[in-house]
Symmetry: C2
Subunit: 126 residues, 2 copies
Amino acid sequence: MVEFHVDRGSGLPAYLQLGRQVREALRLGWLQPGDRLPTVRDVVASSGVNANTVLKAYRELELAGLVEARQGSGTFVKASPGSAAPEDFDPLRATLADWVTEARSAGLEDEDIYALLREVLSGGAQ
Amino acid sequence: MVEFHVDRGSGLPAYLQLGRQVREALRLGWLQPGDRLPTVRDVVASSGVNANTVLKAYRELELAGLVEARQGSGTFVKASPGSAAPEDFDPLRATLADWVTEARSAGLEDEDIYALLREVLSGGAQ
DNA sequence: CAGATTGTTCTACTAAACTAAGACAATAGA
DNA sequence: TCTATTGTCTTAGTTTAGTAGAACAATCTG
């Protein structure tokens, strides 16, 4: 079961935060085809956002072909973005964890780490 | 000189995108204390956003103590967030670049990589 | 079938983000 | 001093995000 966490005041619209969390859970294999997402009312109760906001997030995921809403029964995972299998992540995750440890002991904060990754992914200094 | 790039339709408010880009440039050492940010009118011309939006971004940076606005002269970097020196990044950047190469050859997309990093930074599976 | 659960729709409203265009004020440089 | 540049403010408007509460429709369960 996925637990949503909406950070009001982060500036990012709530429906985008929800969508991103689902996509991320899909990529990491926490959610797999066939799994059921929390009901709209569950999310409302646990995160405090409005039902229409949750619905908007789910509708965008459905439009992207990632989930399927079945009235009366729930919203279910239909497919997963990304082609890599989550099992392939394990060795990479271990290496990355080591690197993070090293970076942190060098004094880097999380924001530094994100900035560095974004720099590397976008192809170095630009 | 920093070049701003505002992505309309990403959902993230323009003023937040601008602020994030400045903060990131500061962390990576692309901007250092004393440097001048692009003028409000420059940003308006290059990014297409409204002057008030740019002003809002700059004002938040000033409120955070990162920059200083001097009327008639420009907006200047005052301090840098983060404690690590940008030179300390170099060896870490190299290691990270290697890891990214490996991850990509394993079939991971950029979104997979971001998700994996966020997972590791937040302390493993949650 | 009956009742609960689920997604869905509707209307009305508030607040925030953003645009538009103009004017003002302090500074730097010729 | 004069002029261009720069940050700043004002007013007015549009669009989007989000809230609120109620109702409807399909599905599952007993």
